[in-house]
Structures are given as structure tokens and as C-alpha cells.
């Protein structure tokens, strides 16, 4: 019913493509300059940004944080807020300059002709209103439907975005839905008034990979069937590759490259685009490979750029680059690049990191006793006993019977989605949470019992690095003071000696020693994460838990931190438990991987084995959902999982509810047997190993030539 043609007298008839090979763009942004002003001065968020989106086309707007990509999207919606101001430029939508419209005319366009979906579905829905009410609002506002008519339309919309029981979802409050369902509801809201343009601002960034794959599939299908145009704002090149026909790369508020997605991502012309593509972690079994990274941070501009914005970080920069602003050079095909050296650099790849020939990987000591041993670990949250019978509760199982070891100098990756229990495992290993059952042995000693008895020596030997680099540093303490604390706790009395230690630790993680006097807000995200790592190293630990330690960082910085962590492992012989949702990141650093789902380990083994068949059905789906660039080879057919209908639990396999290869009732009723091979590869599944091994490899390029294991 969404595709039913509707008479729209105001819109001129579409010229048939045969007559006009180049239809007029639906959205034409010309010379858009945006700045944020406050008492301390102005900051330029976008300088002379131009791009066009044709009808039915999806354009990716990519760049790292601070590149201005979200600002541009918000300017199109007239939702800049917070001191943001469009200084100059035109935003032509269907030939009309939106900047010449009154605020109420723009409000009438929003949600009707131009609709939006934002990043975080968990916070984009109002917790106090039902989902159905929120989807109905624009229908009532823009289309003049009665609440009853709108309610009927809401059901159709929810069904169209793949929700199986629209009636229940419409009556639900947002917190009663999963993240994937919430994002579907937001997409349904955006589609309601049959818009011509969708603004998608990182619409899948907050979702799990398997859910993301389904949402992207849905968006691609809808854009196609409704002939929708979309502006797809994202930092994720793999996703952009999957859904966008064209791409525009922003850096420091300036468009540095634009063109067909396939061409830009496989043969980037601008040095920044080269760097971005090179720094993207790809699934690899070559663990010793250092990821290329882009040094430095984005410079903040106050006025029009006086030189190439990327020159300070560009390995190819010359004197000309630093003294003259660059002009956009566009070829006849419409591809453009803002670099005068682009042609000369056409065949030159982004430089590899120094192979660091002095790096001396420590001989692994696989034969010695493991450093950490986890035995039948179980953790239940929220169980409570009470004298009031209606308050007694069995609790939620976060981790169910998990056993594994971490060897000395070994990096064990833990991969799983939100709610898989991966963070709980990390917390129990650091004795931040007491296990409900099972033991954790650290270097031969029972960790829980020893710390319970007040002995803190083991704490010094096991440290933690969190995801949120800003929130894990006290904003009112200098970097030096933050790092001094663990040293004092470790009993280092001499203040002068502590100061020297802090300086050497900062140098160790690649920061100037003078940073000890800075406050966290004076540092960039990558620098703060280096400080967190330095602080974790202060007590000279043997074991570090990295809980999503690089997930919040931009690709170029992420590569940087991953390299640092790898270096520290090689030089200091550290063991890591590397917890992440990103299997590509894990493949770069981990020796062994645990794939966890619903609090249990469904597959475990050396990274080279886990990436190849036989796969656990969940691992296979997870791997196939990883977005990739075109140059990385043919994509295997994607395995799309259903949204989780119920929370995992019960007696059977935890994955049974979503498993695409479920055998039958045996999966619901019996815990799966563990198949184990000689090289330590273990899969917990009812399907026989031989049958699992028949599946095609998700990454055929990895099929042969593995030197490890």
C-alpha cells in the first residue's frame, strides 16, 4: 500500500530517464558553511560543503568525529540548535532553497517530505509515550488523519518494516522492545508520510552486528521499493559500501572527495580517504600485521581554511599544501577530489606503519601453567531472598557455566553481542563482581577467596581498560594525579620516584611526559585512551582486561591504539582478555577467541580456526554480518538472524530461538554437546561436526595458507 501511486499536483512530472540522462538532483547542497558560536569564539563546523543527491539515490556522508557530517545533516533538517548557524550557502530541495523558507514552512517539510532516523534507537523514542502514538504523530500532524485512521496506518507501517505482531508493538512502550525493534519503529515513523528524502544519521551504529545487518537490508529494500533518496551519515565504510551508490568524504568540515562508492572505496584519490580505507580493521588471520593509522588529530578551524585541512596529518604533504587552500577538482564522471597531488599519487598507497624491526616478540610460553583459569563460572544478577514472598526472585543468568584459560603472554578475545555476558566475565575476572558459582584462579591462587580475605596484591597484577575513555578519568584530576593514585596504593612512597614513573609510563604509551599536568578534557579521545592504558600499566600488571577498549574511537585512532596494545603485549609479555563486539578487531590482536552468546561459550579456538569452517551457526551468522569493502573480495551470502523473540534461557541451547539451522526440539530441550578437535577448537552444537564443516567459508580468502595452527 505504500507503493500505491498518489496524485501530487504540486510536483512536476518526473522526466523519463531516456530523455534526460542526468535527472535534476532532489537535494542539492551548495557552498554550505556552518559555524558554532559561543562566548569564547566561533568554530567552523562546515566550510563550503557541496554535494547532490539524485532521486532514488543513497549517498554516504562519511568522516570521523569532528568532520562535520552530522552538522550538515542537521542543517538540512533545520535542527542545528546549540549556537549552530548556517553562514552561507544553499540547500536546494526539489529546486527550492530551504534557507529561504520560514521556520514553520520548514517544520511542515520535516517528517513529511524529509524524514530522519537517528543513531540511537534506545534514546530516540520517548519513554513516556507508546510506540504507536509516536509513529502516528506525524500522520496526524502532516496528513491530517484522525487518530483512528492513523492507528490503522501505524499497523501497516509496522508490518512493512518487518514487525510480526504490529498490534502488540504499537501498544508497547519503548523499553519493552529490543534495540532492533525500536529502530524498525523509528524507520516506520520516518516512512509514514511517504517522504522523498531520508536523513539517516548513523542509523545502525548502536546496534549489534547481526541486528545491523538486518536493518541495513531493510533500509536498502525500502529505498529501492519507494524510490527514496537518502543521505546516509556514517563512520562505517563497510556499511556505506553496502547501501550507498555515491559517497562524499568530509574532513575537518571540508569535502575532500566525492564519487561512486565502489570507486572511492577501492581506489581512493584523496590521501585522507586512502588513510581511512587502510586503517579499517579487516578480518585477518595475520595477527602480527600492524594496522596503518593516521597520526595526529583533526584541527579545529575558526575561519575559512588557509591551507589544505589535512596537510598536518598527511604523509604526502609538501610546502604548497601548507600554504594554499585546495580547490575541488572534478572529472567528467562527476567524481571530485580536493588535492592537487591526487593524480600524482594515484598509484601510491597509504604508507604502512614502520615494521618496527626492533620489536622482539617474546617467545610464547604455551607449555607453562596458564595465568588465569576460569572454571564453571556462573553469575546471576538480581536474585533476592526476602521475608515477603512476593519479593523473592530467581534472578537473571548473565553467565552460565563458562570455563576457559588465558595463558601467559596470550591474548584471548571474547566476542559477543550486548547481553551476551561478555562484560560480566571480565568483571568477575578482576574480582569486581563476585561469581555466583565457580572459581577464578589467578597464577595458582583462588582470586575470589584471596581478595575476599582482604589481600589486594592480586588486584595490582590484573588491570582494566574501559570503553569510555572520558568517563573513566576524573575530570577534576590531572593526568598525573590520576596515574599517581595506583602507585600510592601499590605502596610507592617516594613522590619524586612516582613522578618519574608517571613520566616514563606516558612516554611508554607514546604521549609527551608533560601531559601529566593536563586535565582529561584537554586531550583527544585517543590520547585519553592512552592515558587509561598507561594508568592500567602503572602497577606493572601481568593481565589486562580490555572491555571494548577501542570501540568508541575513530577508525584511524582505533588502529593506533590496537597497535599500541599489540606492542605492549610483545614487549612486556602482557596477557589480555580482549572483550569486544567487533570480530574484525579481535582478529587483529587475539590468539584465541571465545564466541559467547546468552552467557555461554558457543565456540572457542585459535583465531585462525574460528574464522574458518566448521562454524557454530551463530559464529557463521556473526561473520557473515561483518560489513566489508568491495576490494576485500566477493561477499558470501549473508545469513540474517531473526530478532531475538525471547531472552535466552531454559534447558536447551541458548541460541535455539534464533538459530537458522535449528534441528528441532532437541535444541530446545537438551544442552548441546561440545565437539572438540585436536588443536583446541571447540563447538557446542547438536549438529555433527562433519555437517558443520560442509559449509562454505565466509572468508574464502582465508581458506588456505594459514601459517598459524
Amino acid at each position: 500500500m505504500m507503493t500505491a501511486p498518489q496524485a501530487r499536483p504540486a510536483v512536476p512530472p518526473v522526466v523519463s530517464p531516456a530523455i534526460a540522462p542526468e535527472p535534476a538532483p532532489l537535494l542539492d547542497v551548495r557552498g554550505l558553511t556552518i559555524s558554532y558560536g559561543n562566548a569564547r569564539g566561533t568554530l567552523r563546523a562546515a566550510s563550503d560543503v557541496s554535494f547532490a543527491i539524485r532521486p532514488g539515490e543513497v549517498m554516504g556522508l562519511v568522516g570521523e568525529s569532528g568532520s562535520g557530517k552530522s552538522t550538515v545533516a542537521m542543517a538540512i533538517l533545520d535542527l542545528l540548535g546549540g549556537g549552530g548557524r548556517v553562514d552561507s550557502g544553499e540547500i536546494l530541495f526539489d529546486g527550492v532553497d530551504l534557507r529561504r523558507l520560514s521556520p514553520s514552512e520548514r517544520q511542515a517539510l520535516r517528517g513529511d517530505r524529509i524524514a530522519a532516523v537517528f543513531q540511537d534507537p534506545f534514546t530516540s523514542l520517548n519513554p513516556a509515550l507508546t510506540v504507536g502514538h509516536q509513529i502516528a504523530e506525524p500522520l496526524i500532524q502532516h496528513k491530517g488523519l484522525s487518530p483512528r485512521q492513523a492507528a490503522a496506518r501505524v499497523q501497516d507501517l509496522l508490518a512493512e518494516v518487518g514487525i510480526r505482531d504490529p498490534r502488540r508493538v504499537a501498544a508497547a512502550y519503548p523499553h519493552e522492545l529490543s534495540g532492533g525493534m525500536q529502530q524498525r519503529a523509528l524507520i516506520a515513523t520516518a516512512l509514514g508520510c511517504e517522504p522523498k528524502l531520508l536523513i539517516l544519521d548513523e542509523p545502525t551504529t548502536a546496534l549489534d552486528v547481526t541486528v545491523e545487518a538486518r536493518i541495513i537490508e531493510l533500509l536498502a529494500k525500502l529505498c529501492d521499493s519507494h524510490r527514496l533518496s537518502a543521505l546516509f551519515v556514517s563512520h562505517n565504510l563497510g556499511i556505506v559500501n553496502r547501501i550507498c551508490q555515491t559517497v562524499t568524504v568530509l574532513y575537518g568540515g571540508v569535502v575532500v572527495e566525492t564519487g561512486q562508492t565502489g570507486r572511492v572505496l577501492s581506489r581512493p584519490a584523496h590521501p585522507y580517504a586512502k588513510g581511512l580505507v587502510a586503517a579499517l580493521p579487516r578480518i585477518t588471520a595475520e595477527r602480527r600485521h600492524r594496522l596503518p593509522s593516521i597520526p595526529g588529530t583533526v584541527a579545529k578551524l575558526a575561519g575559512p581554511p588557509a591551507a589544505c585541512v589535512f596537510a598536518p596529518r598527511c604523509p604526502f604533504a609538501e610546502e604548497t599544501c601548507r600554504s594554499q587552500p585546495q580547490a575541488m577538482r572534478t572529472d567528467e564522471g562527476g567524481d571530485g577530489v580536493r588535492c592537487w597531488k591526487a593524480d600524482a599519487l594515484a598509484g601510491t598507497p597509504w604508507p604502512d606503519e614502520d615494521a618496527a624491526s626492533d620489536r622482539r616478540p617474546r617467545a610464547a610460553q604455551p607449555r607453562s601453567a596458564p595465568l588465569v583459569e576460569v572454571d564453571h563460572l556462573r553469575k546471576i544478577y538480581g536474585a533476592s531472598r526476602s521475608i515477603l514472598p512476593w519479593l523473592r526472585r530467581a534472578g537473571t543468568v548473565a553467565v552460565e557455566d563458562v570455563s576457559f584459560t588465558v595463558g601467559r603472554g596470550e591474548v584471548v578475545g571474547v566476542v559477543g553481542e550486548s547481553g551476551s555476558g561478555k562484560s560480566t566475565i571480565g568483571r568477575v575476572l578482576l574480582a569486581l563482581t563476585e561469581p555466583s558459582a565457580g572459581t577464578v584462579t589467578f597464577d595458582g591462587a583462588d582470586l575470589t577467596r584471596q581478595i575476599g580475605s582482604g589481600d589486594q596484591t592480586l588486584r595490582r597484577r590484573a588491570q582494566l581498560v574501559f570503553q569510555n575513555s572520558a568517563a573513566s578519568l576524573n575530570p577534576r584530576k590531572t593526568v598525573g594525579a590520576a596515574m599517581d593514585r595506583p602507585l600510592v596504593l601499590a605502596g610507592r612512597a617516594d613522590a619524586e620516584e612516582r613522578r618519574r614513573t608517571v613520566a616514563s609510563l606516558l612516554t611508554r604509551v607514546g604521549l609527551p611526559a608533560a601531559y601529566a599536568d593536563r586535565y582529561p578534557h584537554e586531550l583527544s579521545g585517543g590520547e585519553r585512551q592512552r592515558v587509561n592504558i598507561a594508568r592500567a600499566l602503572a602497577t606493572d600488571p601481568d593481565f589486562v582486561v580490555c572491555d571494548e577498549a577501542v570501540s568508541a574511537l575513530d577508525v584511524s585512532v582505533q588502529a593506533n591504539i590496537l597497535n599500541l596494545l599489540a606492542e605492549l603485549r610483545d614487549e612486556m609479555g602482557l596477557s589480555y582478555l580482549f572483550i569486544t563486539h567487533d570480530i574484525a578487531v579481535v582478529s587483529h590482536i587475539a590468539d584465541r577467541v571465545l564466541v559467547v552468546y546468552g552467557g555461554t561459550i558457543c565456540e572457542e579456538g585459535p583465531i585462525g580456526r574460528v574464522l574458518r569452517p566448521p562454524y557454530h551457526p551463530y559464529t557463521e551468522a556473526l561473520l557473515s554480518a561483518v560489513p566489508r569493502l568491495a576490494e576485500d573480495g566477493q561477499e558470501a551470502p549473508r545469513i540474517l538472524l531473526e530478532d531475538a523473540a525471547t531472552a535466552p534461557g531454559g534447558r536447551g541451547c541458548v541460541f535455539a530461538g534464533r538459530c537458522p539451522r535449528k534441528l528441532g526440539t532437541v535444541c530446545d530441550e537438551q544442552a548441546p554437546p561440545v565437539h572438540e578437535t585436536a588443536d583446541g577448537h571447540r563447538i557446542a552444537c547438536h549438529i555433527p561436526l562433519a555437517t558443520l564443516a560442509e559449509r562454505a567459508a565466509v572468508f574464502p580468502e582465508l581458506a588456505d595458507g594459514d601459517t598459524r595452527h
Binding site: 533538517l77 535542527l79 540548535g81 534514546t123 520517548n126 519513554p127 504523530e137 515513523t189
Partner: protein, 318 residues
């Protein structure tokens, strides 16, 4: 929701039981002796002892407490020693008058305070915002008795528009009743308004920056809908808590204001009981005030659930 309310009521009973013990012990520890106060300054020891026996004051504390607590459970709050009347009716009358004051004052505070808070948040940093801040600070910074005296002088003594104090029951007619309420209510509003307005302003500012407000704007909702339907309902949670505390505060007696306006509420009753060393009256009054406080808080928590479905959900689970 039902289980939640039941749990809270069980806790409420426990809190009151503990309170009753504390109240009983504290009043026992007060200086002075009831029997000798009743007997008068020049009474002989025999007379004082006789009175003590008559009141049961010669028995062990635990027995005295038992008698008292058992009486309360039967709905008997005891007899006032000074007034020589049953306490129940006296207390209920004072409570009713305090309730009137609390309901009217809180209604005005809620409407005006939330309104000003929303206005200030929406016009953040502009003149309106600064004006609201300035005026509400003036209310909070100047002590309540000052406003009370100024109001009495201006409207009572000079302009003779309103009675300077006292209370008229509604049976005397609406106008006399209302005119006696105006000055105490205005004083209370001046005292409480600032906090409510500031609180609403700051939580409204937080909510206006949330993604769901941004998304509501992206749907093309008019600003009035964004603010009233999407933002306000979520911004009200902290305000409700503070309103409930204020409600308990007024119900428990605002001694200074009641004294200045000679308003016969809980505050004046308690003051009278303490001055005259009327132990049973002190005990009963404090116990009722505690109960009123607890009930006001429970009401706030249930209101929370009404406003926020997520909390309702949590209550169903708990």
C-alpha cells in the same frame, strides 16, 4: 503495581512502629515531670505521687509503651492532660486545617512553579530566564517570616483587605474561609516556589537535549507539542518528589507561619503541647506527622509510576 504498593505499605508500618518507640523514648527523656506540672508548683509530694499513679507513670516504661501502642492500634490516641479531652478529635481538626493549607499552597506552587520553570528552560539564557531566576531567588533568600510580616502589614493593617490571622471554617461561608487562607498560602508559595521553578527548569533543560525531543522535532511536531507532550512529562519526575516532601512539610506544621497568622494547624498544636508539657498530645501529634510524611512520599512514588511507564514496568517486576 499492586505488589509494589503492598510492599511499600508493609515498610510504612515498620517505619511507623520504629518511630513510635523513638517518639515514646524521646518524650520520656524530656526535662520536667508531668505529674508535678499537673499538680502545680506548690503541691505536696503525696499529691504528685497520687497523680503519677493515676496516670500510670509509676509503672515500668515497657508497660507504659504497651498501653500506649495498644491504644493507638485500637484507634485511641489517648487523652490530653492539659485540655482534658480525647486527643483524636483535636488532632483531626488541626490536621484537616493543615491539609487545607497544604493542598491549596501546593496546588499554586505546582502550577506557577512548573510553569515558570518550563518558561525559563525554553527561554534559557534570555531575559525571561534571568527574571524568573532573580524573582525566585528573592523568594528563597529572604526568610519566610519576613514575607509574612510584610504581607500582614500591607494587606492586613494598612489596606485592611484581608484578615491578619485566624481561621474561619468553611461553614461560615466561602469568602471568610478563603480570605483567611490567602496570606498564609502566599507566604508558603513564596517560600517554596523557587525550588520548584529551579528544579523544573534544570530537568527540563536536560530533557530538551535528549534524542527523543530531537526526534520529535525531526518529525515536524510543533514546538508546543514538543515541549508539553514530549518533554514535560519526562521532566516532571524530580519535581514530583520535591512537591511530595513539601506536602509532608506543610502537613507536619509550619510553626513560624502558623504562629504569625495564628493559623490553628498541626504546627501550633505541637508547639502548644510542647510548651505545656502535654506528653500524650506530643506523642500523638508527632506520630501522625510521621505517618503523613510517609504517606506523602508513597503517593509521590505511585505518581512517578503514573508518569513514567518504565517505572511502572519495574514495579510490576518487583
Amino acid at each position: 503495581m499492586f505488589a509494589y504498593t503492598l510492599t511499600r505499605l508493609v515498610y510504612l508500618a515498620l517505619v511507623l512502629a520504629v518511630m513510635s518507640v523513638l517518639i515514646f523514648l524521646v518524650t520520656q527523656a524530656m526535662p520536667g515531670d508531668v505529674a508535678s506540672m499537673i499538680a502545680g508548683q506548690f503541691a505536696s509530694k503525696e499529691v504528685v505521687d497520687a497523680i503519677a499513679v493515676k496516670l500510670g507513670l509509676d509503672q515500668p516504661l515497657i508497660v507504659q509503651y504497651g498501653h500506649w501502642a495498644a491504644g493507638i492500634l485500637r484507634g485511641d490516641l489517648g487523652r490530653s492532660l492539659v485540655l482534658e479531652q480525647p486527643i483524636g478529635p483535636i488532632l483531626m481538626e488541626a490536621l484537616a486545617r493543615s491539609l487545607v493549607l497544604a493542598v491549596v499552597a501546593l496546588f499554586v506552587v505546582a502550577v506557577v512553579g512548573i510553569g515558570l520553570g518550563v518558561l525559563a528552560a525554553v527561554r534559557r539564557g534570555k531575559l525571561t530566564d534571568q527574571l524568573v531566576s532573580g524573582v525566585s531567588y528573592l523568594g528563597i533568600a529572604v526568610p519566610d517570616f519576613f514575607w509574612a510580616i510584610v504581607l500582614v502589614l500591607v494587606f492586613g493593617s494598612y489596606m485592611k483587605l484581608l484578615p491578619t490571622g485566624g481561621y474561619a471554617p468553611i461553614t461560615d461561608g466561602f469568602l471568610p474561609w478563603a480570605s483567611h487562607l490567602v496570606l498564609p498560602v502566599v507566604t508558603l508559595v513564596l517560600m517554596l516556589l523557587a525550588r520548584i521553578a529551579r528544579l523544573t527548569r534544570s530537568s527540563m533543560i536536560d530533557v530538551l537535549q535528549t534524542n527523543y525531543v530531537k526526534f520529535a522535532r525531526a518529525k515536524g511536531m510543533p514546538e508546543s507539542v514538543v515541549i508539553l507532550r514530549h518533554a514535560l512529562k519526562n521532566a516532571l519526575l524530580p519535581t514530583i518528589t520535591v512537591l511530595a516532601i513539601d506536602f509532608g512539610l506543610i502537613l507536619g506544621g509550619v510553626v513560624v507561619i502558623e504562629t504569625i497568622f495564628s493559623y490553628p494547624g498541626m504546627g501550633r498544636l505541637l508547639l502548644f503541647a510542647i510548651q505545656r508539657h502535654d506528653l500524650p498530645l506530643i506523642q500523638a501529634t508527632i506520630l501522625i506527622v510521621s505517618a503523613a510524611y510517609c504517606l506523602a512520599n508513597l503517593t509521590a512514588d505511585l505518581l512517578y509510576a503514573f508518569v513514567n511507564p518504565k517505572i511502572r514496568h519495574g514495579m510490576r517486576a518487583s
